[in-house]
Symmetry: C2
């Protein structure tokens, strides 16, 4: 297992610079008053393809040799990683195949295709996904880019907090949502090297609290079919992300579904930005744990903005 290093993050930053946004940091006086903290929202909802995953995907794609690139990239993801890999592949002009359950939302398939990627449908089961994916790779020779358990992807996500600490001085903590742990791992990679005084917190839906339970148990525990409105956060930790979480995360905090939706709506209403339910989990946990964050300067990663506007969680 190769653990990505600070040099990998620095190389990633140079490699992806032309393909991603240095996203803005927004603040809200009202949310500061509500929480007693100074919050600095790093807005990856404004990122290319609408999510921080454009960073890791771009780093993987633009790091390929020309020979490998010609064969393309492939992944299985019905979320932002598939869209972002398609985006990055489109920028390089190479093939991208995303294996998705045929039951995945049409909007997700359209998003992959919108950037030029190919969608290959499988049945909604792990066995079908693995079989179809193996066939895709066997036929094309495409490079598999895992959504998070990949050093290239983690080094790419790590560029986000490198920007953040240039944009905001003297942070006490950074908090990000945790699903598979790619963003949290990247945050740990950068901060443990460049700003070890900044604590890293992870925020997780109580309904998918495998990372919090793993953190307490000291080994990876996977959820059994978790169900949460924060649909990007259902996936389990893997060995590479577990390495960073175990060694560098201060705590993993959880929030209920209602707390997540309330925080999401609050951000939309007061900050006027469109962001995903997953991105609201950090604020939900900050509101819930004022003793942890009050008086602190806290970076909050808003991870993505790809929302189905026809199915907002407070309207269902």
């Amino acid at each position: 297992m190769y653990i990505p290093t600070l040099d990998d993050m620095i190389a990633a930053r140079a490699r992806i610079d032309a393909h991603i946004h240095n996203t803005p940091v927004l603040t809200s006086r009202m949310l500061n008053e509500l929480t007693g903290a100074e919050l600095f929202f790093k807005c990856e909802n404004f990122q290319k393809a609408g999510a921080f995953k454009a960073r890791g995907a771009s780093n993987a794609v633009f790091g390929l040799s020309d020979a490998q690139a010609a064969k393309g990239v492939a992944t299985h993801s019905s979320g932002n990683h598939g869209t972002c890999l398609s985006y990055a592949a489109g920028r390089r002009g190479i093939p991208c195949t995303v294996v998705m359950p045929r039951t995945a939302p049409q909007a997700k398939k359209d998003a992959v295709r919108g950037y030029g990627g190919r969608v290959v449908e499988c049945e909604p089961s792990t066995s079908s996904r693995e079989a179809v994916f193996a066939e895709v790779v066997a036929q094309s020779g495409a490079e598999f880019v895992h959504p998070y358990n990949d050093p290239r992807v983690i080094a790419g996500q790590a560029t986000c907090s490198a920007e953040l600490i240039e944009q905001v001085a003297d942070l006490d903590a950074v908090i990000a949502p945790i699903g598979g742990g790619g963003m949290v791992s990247g945050t740990c990679l950068t901060l443990s090297n460049l700003a070890p005084g900044i604590k890293v917190y992870a925020a997780e839906p109580l309904n998918a609290d495998d990372a919090a339970r793993s953190f307490r148990a000291g080994h990876i525990i996977a959820d059994d079919a978790p169900d949460t409105v924060a649909d990007g956060l259902k996936v389990p930790l893997k060995e590479l992300t577990w390495h960073f979480v175990r060694n560098h995360v201060t705590d993993i905090l959880t929030a209920t579904e209602e707390e997540i939706v309330d925080a999401m709506k609050l951000i939309w209403k007061r900050m006027k930005i469109v962001m995903e339910a997953s991105s609201a989990v950090p604020l939900a946990t900050i509101i819930k744990n004022p003793e942890v964050f009050a008086g602190k300067r806290v970076g909050v990663i808003i991870t993505g903005g790809n929302v189905d506007l026809d199915k907002l969680p407070w309207n269902t």
Copy 2:
């Protein structure tokens, strides 16, 4: 009738600097490709109190003598002007009274009160509003700040395009929604003096096209009970705003309700920002009139972001 001047805008800018945001300008590659133009969105949805009207309201409030300020300010508005006047008065620590129909949405009343203002309810008729408002002014001696037909308000709104032309070089045109005409008048004031080569366009709902009809007729025509999703744009021009519209606007373009809602949803989906239906009218008209804007660098004023998230127009 006093016509505000460039000096009034410059004075306004210094006066309100500490109380408003220099709002960011956002771009979208996808929307540029769609329209064939280069669009620069001036995001007043991120403005204090959620709308550009914080500019004019702050200029009026902070321009008052101490003696007048002690008696407070008053207006009649169930929209952003009431909220923004309450915001500005709160910043100066003076009383603010907003007369609103008792049938106005609770959220609008709460917004005024949230900044410290007082809501006085009237019956939902012009005669009741005028009678109640006259009583408020008679009792308090409060200064009336009209939502748009007021040189202090227009000079305040004019600061928006002064920022815009510092943020974006070589604009060919600026387009803003038009209701009463305060933002369009302020835009005309600034650009006709500082950048007379930039054309000013106004965008209006077809269902409330009094300004477009006035523009063609050469005199003010008021709508009779217009109904549009762009609820900030129902009010008619008045003599002061008509002066600027008549003399400096290149054209007034209109869009249907469906075109407005489609443009609103497109901006939410692609730009990840929460903004009002009124703010989508310019993009709707740009999409509809490609021959006017293709190849041009166009500033687009996103006027506000105070949306009822429980009643989005595409969910009703």
